[in-house]
C-alpha cells in the first residue's frame, strides 16, 4: 500500500484525530493526536490490509528549547512490505502519551529509552524505568536545554582540561612545556564552525593576498 492509501484508511477510522499528512517528506508521515496513539497503533497492527507487524524504530524528539517534544514511530509490514511514519507532538510541560508496549513488544525498551533520555512519559507502560542512565541521574540528557549535573555521587561529571592550567615551564623544561595566560582559540573556533561559517573561515593573515 502506498502512504496515501494508508492515510485514507486511517482517515476513515480516525477522522478528527489525524492532524497532518505529509507525502512530500523523505519518509511520508501522518501526524496524529497523542491521546489516540494506542487506538491508532492497534488499528495499524490488527487490520489485515495494513498489518504493521514490526515497529522499526521509536524515537523521542526534542524540536528545540522553546518547541514541543515528540515521538516518531517508524512502522513496517513484513508481509506487505510497506512502511509509514507516525508522529505525535507533545507539550514540553507535560509530555505524556499512552504506551504501545503491549502492541509491539519492542516498544517496551524503546519507550524506556525515550523516557530516560528525553523524559517522555508513557502511560500504561508496565516497567517505566531509566534504562541507559543510572536510576538516580538528574535531568534528561537529550533535551536541548539539558545542563549536565556538576557531581554524581561525589564524582565530577563534566570533563575538565586541567592540564592546560597546571603545566608550567618549570615542571618539564626539556620538553618545552609552558603555559599561556591567554586562552586557546580552539573553543571559539569550534563555536564559529558550528554557527555555520565553517568553510568560509580563513586563517588569520591569509586574507591579504
Amino acid at each position: 500500500m502506498t502512504p496515501e492509501q494508508i492515510h485514507i484508511k486511517l482517515h476513515e477510522k480516525f477522522d478528527d484525530h489525524i492532524l497532518e499528512f505529509n507525502v512530500e517528506a523523505l519518509d511520508p508521515y501522518v501526524k496524529i493526536d497523542p491521546a489516540k496513539i494506542y487506538e491508532v497503533a492497534t488499528f495499524l497492527r490488527q487490520t489485515s490490509e495494513l498489518d504493521f507487524t514490526a515497529l522499526m524504530c521509536l524515537s523521542g524528539m526534542d524540536y528545540g528549547v522553546d518547541e514541543n517534544l515528540g515521538v516518531v514511530y517508524n512502522l513496517h509490514s513484513i508481509q506487505h512490505n510497506h512502511r509509514i511514519t507516525i508522529r505525535v507532538d507533545l507539550s514540553r510541560e507535560n509530555p505524556t502519551l499512552p504506551s504501545v508496549e503491549t502492541i509491539w513488544r519492542t516498544a517496551d525498551w524503546h519507550e524506556r529509552e525515550a523516557f530516560d533520555l528525553l523524559g517522555i512519559r508513557f502511560e500504561g507502560h508496565r516497567d517505566l524505568r531509566r534504562i541507559l542512565c543510572p536510576d538516580d541521574w538528574e535531568g534528561y540528557p537529550l533535551r536541548k536545554d539539558y545542563i549536565v549535573q556538576e557531581f554524581y555521587k561525589g564524582i565530577r561529571v563534566p570533563y575538565q582540561e586541567d592540564w592546560m592550567k597546571y603545566e608550567t615551564l618549570e615542571k618539564n623544561p626539556e620538553r618545552g612545556n609552558f603555559v599561556f595566560q591567554f586562552e586557546s582559540k580552539v573553543p571559539e573556533l569550534i563555536e564559529s564552525a558550528k554557527n555555520g561559517n565553517n568553510s568560509d573561515h580563513k586563517p588569520e593573515g591569509s586574507t591579504d593576498g
Binding site: K171, F178, I190, P203
Partner: protein, 188 residues
C-alpha cells in the same frame, strides 16, 4: 538404553573427527609472533602516534576543527607585514607564527580525519604504536618550536596590537559622533 549408547558413540565419533582437525593443526607452522622481539610489519598508512612537521604547518586550524574529540590545540600569531616566514614545501605561504601546536594523544581516537584534511600534509600518523608513558604529561605532545619566552612575547605583541586597534576604533567612533553632533548643532 539403545539411544543412550548411540549418543555416546556419536559423541565419541564426532569428537574424534574434531580432534583429527586439531591434530593436523599441530604440524602447521606457527602463525604467532614473539611480540617484543618480533614485530609486525605495518602498512604505509597505518595509524599510530600523530606527528606534525611544524616547518610545513601553516596554522590553518583545519585539523583542530575537524577533530571529533578536540584533542589538537593550536595558537597562532599573525605575522606583521615586514616579516617573511617563507613557504611550506607544498608552496602554501606561511603567514603566521605557530606558537602552539599540542596534541593530547590520550584523547586522540585515531580516526585519521585530521591528516586527511591537512592541506600541506605536514600532519601525519607515524607507524609508532607503543605510546604508553609513565606520566600523564608525557602523553601530551608539543610540536611548536618557539621558546616559551618568544611565544609569550609574540602573543603579547598581538594582544597589544589588538588593543591599539580597538582604541583607534573607539577614537574613530567618538570622532564620528562628535562630528555628527556638530553637524546637528550647526543648523540650530
Amino acid at each position: 538404553m539403545a539411544s543412550y549408547f548411540r549418543d555416546i558413540y556419536r559423541a565419541i565419533k564426532t569428537i574424534a573427527i574434531g580432534m583429527g582437525q586439531t591434530w593436523k593443526a599441530m604440524f602447521r607452522p606457527a602463525i604467532t609472533l614473539q611480540y617484543p622481539n618480533q614485530k609486525w610489519e605495518l602498512p604505509v598508512n597505518a595509524r599510530g602516534i600523530l606527528f606534525n612537521n611544524v616547518d610545513d604547518c601553516i596554522g590553518c586550524y583545519k585539523c583542530a576543527r575537524i577533530c571529533p574529540v578536540q584533542c589538537i590545540y593550536i595558537d597562532t600569531v599573525k605575522a606583521t607585514a615586514d616579516e617573511d616566514l617563507g613557504k611550506a614545501s607544498m608552496g602554501n605561504p606561511i603567514r603566521q607564527h605557530l606558537i602552539r601546536f599540542d596534541i593530547d594523544m590520550f584523547k586522540c581516537c585515531f580516526c585519521d580525519l585530521c591528516t586527511i584534511v591537512c592541506p600541506t600534509e605536514c600532519l601525519y600518523m607515524t607507524d609508532e604504536y607503543e605510546n604508553s608513558v609513565f606520566s600523564r604529561d608525557n602523553g601530551i605532545y608539543h610540536f611548536a618550536k618557539y621558546l616559551p619566552e618568544e611565544a609569550r612575547a609574540l602573543k603579547m605583541r598581538e594582544v597589544e596590537a589588538d588593543m591599539e586597534k580597538a582604541k583607534a576604533k573607539e577614537a574613530a567612533i567618538a570622532a564620528k559622533k562628535k562630528a555628527a553632533a556638530e553637524k546637528a548643532a550647526v543648523p540650530a
